[in-house]
């Protein structure tokens, strides 16, 4: 991912939080037939390996784990909030007119070689982690143990676990850092006023960046 210095997100905790909050990864592998992409929810094990490990699973019928180039790195992209930014929000528009539109977003990209997990105990542990990560915060969280064991065992035979030890992680926080402070504040106000889709979340990113990189 192209990373101008002012957009580079280096804070490990912030990158991990982005993955936790936007757990559906776009996972791309190389194969003899070209690129294969699948959309898989991942849970991050921060303590496995030097840089953490992503854990997920696919249907056994999904050919990816038979077709991938097992020695090549795959990339998993986690995309956070995003929004179109109009120069109409910039006070600088009226002052000097040297403004153009852009798109803001936060993204974390993980690179690493994917491996299959077929061991039953490890797979159950993986499913429990995935479930608990998402059910946290629900009023009465669903647990894997809520389903009949024979039913869970049967479903587990239909999937394979995927682990991706993280070799490299990079993040881009594209949050108007290269604009004038007044235009950044105008963007925060404009996003809140529009209030569609991820506008409030993107406004929070711009506001955070104003604090950390004024």
């Amino acid at each position: 991912m192209y990373l101008p210095p002012y957009h580079r997100l280096d804070d490990r905790d912030a990158l991990h939080a982005l993955i936790d909050a936007h757990a559906l990864g776009t996972w791309v592998c190389r194969s003899a037939d070209g690129l294969i992409a699948n959309h898989i929810p991942f849970v991050l094990d921060r303590h496995a390996g030097p840089n953490g490990t992503l854990l997920g699973h696919v249907a056994r019928a999904n050919p990816v784990w038979r077709q991938w180039d097992a020695t090549a790195e795959s990339v998993v992209s986690f995309l956070g909030p995003q929004a179109y930014i109009t120069p109409g929000w910039y006070p600088g528009k009226a002052e000097h007119g040297r403004v153009v539109p852009t798109w803001n977003y936060a993204a974390a990209h993980v690179h690493g070689v994917a491996q299959v997990i077929e061991d039953g105990d490890r797979l159950l542990d993986l499913l429990t982690r995935l479930t608990d990560a998402q059910e946290t915060g629900h009023p009465s969280p669903w647990r894997v143990a809520d389903a009949p064991p024979d039913f869970v065992a049967r479903l587990m035979r239909g999937i394979v676990g995927i682990q991706i030890p993280i070799r490299h992680i990079e993040g881009r926080l594209k949050a108007s850092q290269d604009e004038a402070p007044a235009d950044r504040r105008g963007t925060v106000d404009g996003l809140h006023a529009r209030g569609r889709d991820a506008d409030h979340a993107v406004a929070d990113l711009v506001e955070q960046a104003l604090r950390t990189h004024p």
């Binding site: 192209y2 690129l35 959309h39 995309l79 109009t86 040297r98 690179h111 669903w142 389903a147």
Partner: protein, 213 residues
Amino acid sequence: MYRPTHFEENRPEVLHALMQAHPLAQLVTHGADGLDANPLPFELDARAGPHGTLRAHVARANPVWQQAGDTEVLVIFQAAQGYISPNWYPSKPEHHRHVPTWNYAVVHAHGVLRVRDDERFVRGLVGRLTREHERRAQQERPWRMGDSAPEFINGLLQVIVGLEIEITRLTGKFKLGQNREARDLEGAATGLDGLGQHDLALAMRNAAPRQGN
């Protein structure tokens, strides 16, 4: 992409609509340094070529255009998505034979990346992108490129490079609970509504098999 039959979506007009509604897509390339992905806002020209043509621009400093020109690339568009808790299924207390899942709708566009290092190309592209997104942003007074100083725009056009991908293969996966009982799909949509995830809830209701089918 693994696509069980009930999640396949191949209608070009449906795929094009998703791409136009969610234009920030991941451009996935395979260069000398391995796989790379860049999020970029794309313009879809639905009438150019058999499956449409995608256009975008990158900073001249972005190495992707030098590394991936004339190679096979993949562009991935994603609509609303979210976790589905088994707690939302009305049938859960009856047999508990449910597990969590994730719903989403995505489009994958494959093609060869052509570099268009051409001022007319990028000027036309950013002009159309601006008009389209200012219209959608419903600005009272839409911003126009002509509002900027011409020498400022001319300078910026020098530091971007155009990209064009004629789509050779276009596939969609709409995993929206179509395989569920109607009451469970509605229960999950109601659960999402409760979390404010209305776009995904609406997409699921629209994807529900009609009664009697």
